[in-house]
C-alpha cells in the first residue's frame, strides 16, 4: 500500500511540476493539501527546478524517504497523461486520503463524506476513463457476516451518492470486506471508529 502510494505521489508531483512550468500560473488546486504536502522531495528528483507547490513542502525533505526509482509503467503513464493537457485537468487524485468515515452500525454519509465524494465525482468527470472501486469496511464489533452486509451498505451509500453527482454507474464498482481488512488494529474506540470507512481504489 505504502509503496503504491509513493509511486502515485511521484506521478502526481511530476504532473504538478510540469503543469507549473508549462502554464506558469497557479491553477486552482483540486487535490487535498495533505496529499500535496509530503512528496516534494520526490518531485525534485523528477523535476529538480520545480517550485514547491505548497508552503509546507520543503520541511518534509528529511522525513520523506527517498523512494526507489518509480517503476516504468506509472512513469510512462504520467508522461502520457501530463503531456497534452496537463494544465487543464488533474490526472491524479489521492483517493486514499479521501476515505470516508461512518458512525457505528451506520451507513449514512456525513457532510465531510459528501464533500470527499464530490471531489471524487469532480475528478471522475474530468477523467472520463477513470473507474473507482468503493470498498466498504467495518470495525470488529458484531459478527463477520453482519459486518459484510454493513460494509456493503457503506459502499453502496457512496456509490449512490456518486451516481447522484452524475458519475455513470458502470464506473463505480463496490466490494465489502466487512471487518476483514481493518485500517488500524481494533484495539480501542478511536481505532475502531477509523475502521468504519469506505476506501476508494482506482481501476476495475
Amino acid at each position: 500500500m505504502l509503496k503504491k502510494s509513493s509511486v502515485w505521489l511521484v506521478v502526481f508531483i511530476s504532473i504538478v511540476a510540469i503543469a507549473f512550468i508549462a502554464s506558469g500560473c497557479a491553477k486552482k488546486q483540486v487535490v487535498k493539501e495533505e496529499a500535496a504536502a509530503k512528496p516534494v522531495v520526490e518531485a525534485k528528483k523528477v523535476e529538480p527546478p520545480a517550485p514547491a507547490p505548497t508552503p509546507a513542502a520543503p520541511k518534509e525533505e528529511a522525513k520523506v524517504e527517498a523512494p526507489a526509482p518509480a517503476p516504468a509503467a506509472p512513469r510512462e503513464e504520467a508522461k502520457r497523461e501530463a503531456a497534452p493537457r496537463a494544465a487543464e485537468r488533474p490526472a491524479f487524485i489521492d483517493l486514499q486520503g479521501l476515505r470516508i468515515q461512518f458512525a457505528f452500525d451506520d451507513y449514512n454519509l456525513s457532510s465531510k463524506a459528501k464533500e470527499n465524494l464530490e471531489k471524487i465525482a469532480s475528478w471522475m468527470s474530468k477523467n472520463p476513463g477513470a473507474k473507482v472501486q468503493v470498498e466498504g469496511h467495518t470495525c470488529d464489533i458484531g459478527t463477520a457476516e453482519y459486518n459484510l452486509a454493513l460494509g456493503e451498505r457503506r459502499a453502496n451509500s457512496a456509490k449512490k451518492y456518486l451516481e447522484g453527482l452524475g458519475v455513470g454507474s458502470a464506473k463505480i464498482s463496490t466490494i465489502s470486506y466487512g471487518e476483514e481488512r481493518p485500517l488500524l488494529a481494533n484495539s480501542d474506540e478511536a481505532n475502531r471508529s477509523k475502521n468504519r470507512r469506505d476506501e476508494f481504489v482506482q481501476g476495475r
Binding site: G142, E145, Y146, L148, A149, E152
Partner: protein, 451 residues
Amino acid sequence: MKKVFPILLAVLFVTPILSEPLWAKVYIDIRSPSFRKFPIAISPFKPPVSPNQDLKLGERATEILNSDLTICGFFALIDPRTFENTVRTLAPAPTPGTGQIPGGLTSELIDFRSWANVGAEALVMGEVTYKDRSLSLEARLYDVVQKELIVGKRYIGEITDLSRMVHRFADEVVFALTGEQGIFQTKIVYVSAATGNKEIYLMDFDGRNASQVTRHQSICLSPRFSPDGKKIVFTSYKAGNPDLYLRDLRTGEERRVSHFPGLNISPAWSPDGQRLALTLSKDGNAEIYAMRPDGSELLRLTHHPGIDVSPTWSPEGKKIAFVSNRGGNPQIYIAEANGENVQRLTFEGNYNTHPTWSPRGERLAFDAFLDGNHNICTIQPNGSNLRILTANLNRCETPSWSPDGRHLVFSSNREGGPHIYLMDAEGTRIKRLTFQRGGDTYPNWSPRFKE
C-alpha cells in the same frame, strides 16, 4: 487432500469382547432434572511393554479418555490418587519373555470391593499394545456394584489412530451408561489466520489433530458442515468477490456454487441437507435466499430494504431464524422456511446476531453485544427465558451447538487470540481448544459421522 481427512479413510477393526445384551440398562438418566453425576474411575491404561515406552501410549490413552468423560458432563471422575494403591496391587506382571500381560482385564482378577471403596460405581480398564506397526487398544467398562462387564472392545489400527480409538470407546461408555450417542468422534471446522490468511481448518471436537483444509491465500469465512458431515460450505474471496464454495472433505474437490455480484455469504444447511439458506445482495440489498447445494432452484425468502443475514434452520426444517436490522439495529427474527410470517425474537439490547438453533429445537444460541462485550446467550423460540451464558469473558462470538445439544463452541479473545473454546450449554466448564497464533474464529461443530 490426503492430509485432511485420513481419519475417515483409515479402517479401524473393532472386536466386541462380549456380545452386548439386546436390552440395555440405563445407569444415568441424563434427561432427568435430578440427575447426579455418575462416579466412574479410569484405571491407568497399561502401556505396551518395551520398546515403545517412550510413546507414552498408555498415558495418552488414559488422558484422552479422562478428558472426554470430563467434557461430556455426565460423570464424576474419581481422583486417580485415591486408587493408586488399588491399581498397584492389582497390576499383574507381564509373563517373562513374551511381554504379554496374562488375563489382565478379566473380571475375575478385579477387586471390585476396592474400587467401590474409592467411590466408583463404574470402572474403565484398558491396555494398549503396539507390535509390527499395528496398534491395538483393548478397553472394558465394568459395573462395580454388580461386578460385571458392561461393554468391552478391542480396536486395531495404526499408531496415529490412538485418539480415535479412545474416542470410540468413550462413545461406547456414554452409550452404555446413558442410552444416548456420544459426541467424541465429532469434529469442529473453523477459520484460522495462522498462515496470515484466513483459511478453513478442521480439528477433533476436543481441539486435537488440527489440520488446514483450504489453501486459498485469501479470506475464507463461515464454514458449515453438511448434515452428513461429508462436505463443508464456506465463503471465500479467492476469486476477488465473497463467493460461496462447496468442498468435499474426503476427496478435496471444491466447487464455487454461488457467485452472484455482491455478497454470497452466511450459508446454513437445511437439516435434510437438501437446501442451503444464504445471504445474497444481487438484488441490491442483503436478503436471505435458499437454493439447492449445487446452486440451482434459487428462491428469495426475505423482502425488506434492511440488512437480512445469518440464517439458521430449526431442526425439523420448518422455520428459519436470521439477523435483520429492519427495526433499526441488528436483532434476531424468526420466519417460516418460505420466508413468510416474520416475527421479531430478541428485544433485549440493541445488537444481537448469529443465531443458531439447538439440535433439539428448544432454544437458540446467539451473540449479543451488551455493555461493550459480546456474550453468548440463549433464548427459547417463543422469546422467553433469555440467558447470558458467558458474562464477563471478554468477547465471545459465533456459537455452534454440539450434535447432542449439550455443548457449545465459540470464539473468544479472553486470552488474546481470538481462540476457540468449548463449554456446556449452561455456560459452565469452559475449555480452550486452540492455541495457535493468528486468531481462530467461526467454529462449526460437525454432526455425528455415520460409519
